[in-house]
Subunit: 255 residues, 2 copies
């Protein structure tokens, strides 16, 4: 499987951000069961499942083991995987992160942080190209304070647009969508339009749909990611409510 096939599926990403406090006495076993059920039930209406690495790491080594198990299971359900780790480091360290996610799980995507520069992102792009994967580079994030560095004026434009243009040049020309995707918060729809204008070939991952107040956005290559709103609708694990929430989101996105 190649991650780019996700772009031909319904433009909705299930964000799996497990919260042990919502899962009874044996939280890891309960998270495993619920996440497997949710992925299986929702898969036909999803382009990908996104695992938020922070919540698995907070559960220790067993949590990381569960993450790797769920990532393998997602592929059994035919579901492309996005590892949401916002990783980024220099040279050989970046290669180790690429190894952990893009090489170990061919056809998957990883979210990455651009602050260290293009040379630090290169090992991720190399691994994505070699293993049918993709990266989503943080461009404009969904949080209220994202402007701190991202909106600084660079040659008369916000830094995030300068970055988006540089990433689009880095990807180069070609047919269809490329492997250098970008993260733009659904909470900033005008930023989504601005980034799309300078980076027509980039798949755009839009987190913040639902719980953070972002509305689903329609358009080629726009992947709407809902985490709490879809995985814990009403603030708790509830598969029936998740299916209803998915139907509503898909109505807004594809009808």
């Amino acid at each position: 499987m190649d991650f780019l096939l996700a772009l031909e599926r319904p433009p909705l990403v299930l964000g799996v951000d497990p919260r042990p406090e919502l899962h009874g006495k044996d939280p890891l076993a309960d998270i495993r069961r619920y996440a497997l059920e949710a992925m299986e039930a929702l898969a036909p209406g999803l382009c990908a499942v996104k695992f938020q690495l922070a919540f698995f790491e907070a559960l220790g080594a067993e949590g990381v083991g569960l993450l790797l198990e769920l990532a393998a299971a997602a592929r059994v359900f035919g579901l492309p995987v996005i590892f949401d780790g916002k990783r980024g480091d220099v040279g050989s360290t970046a290669r180790a992160y690429a190894e952990a996610y893009l090489v170990r799980f061919p056809g998957s995507a990883l979210t990455v942080n651009p602050y260290l520069g293009l040379d630090a992102l290169a090992p991720f792009l190399e691994a994505a190209r070699a293993h049918g994967g993709a990266l989503f580079v943080l461009v404009k994030t969904s949080n209220p304070g994202s402007g701190f560095l991202q909106d600084l004026p660079v040659e008369g434009r916000p830094l995030y647009l300068h970055l988006a243009e540089a990433l689009a040049r880095w990807e180069g020309d070609g047919e269809g969508f490329g492997r250098v995707g970008m993260v733009v918060g659904a909470t900033y729809p005008e930023a989504v339009a601005g980034v799309r204008a300078v980076a027509p070939r980039a798949p755009l991952l839009l987190p913040g749909v639902g719980a953070q107040g972002g509305k689903p956005l329609r358009g080629p290559g726009l992947l709407n990611a809902a985490s709490r709103a879809l995985f814990y609708p009403g603030g708790r694990p509830d598969l029936e409510a998740a299916l209803k929430a998915q139907a509503e989101l898909l109505k807004a996105l594809v009808e």
Copy 2:
């Protein structure tokens, strides 16, 4: 133990970046043994041990288990811990990362990425304050391409200095060193001086000493980090050579 006590120790950080290919048939067991021996032998001449999370993640859940075990062992040797993860994410996700490292291991530090803004860094500072820890925010990184965003001109100065000044203001006034440290590559000594000038209270973590070509730098609050040069001197695990390399670095740093 409070991480700030590290500033009263010899200004040398042992970077543990395990490479399984250097460790025979049962690499995890061998890495465990060698890292424990190295920490015990080198501890008296170190201010901290820095674990590069990427290399443990590349080893899967067992690798992460080993990381947590070595972090606990470091404390038994009286050695402050820096988790080198360059983490960073929005709100509740940042809290999950803080939980995984700063709360679970009181008195430890975590490297963090500033691209998402101060609101995204706030949960890390909160956890550091509550648990005797610290953060090291990426300011100017050691890689050759670090200028891509970090050197962009903002009000006539490179972005990284603008960031360093904002972080110094964010930390506030007070006595002695604060909990908002910064990462500045030893490969850019002029950047170290520039950051120190605008952020007099920030502990500065200087990676890139040795293998990346950075020379050790002396000065209050400067923590020199050597990974390959100290953990794998001559390109392989060798405790005797590590002790010699440490003696040479300390000679340059404290005599």
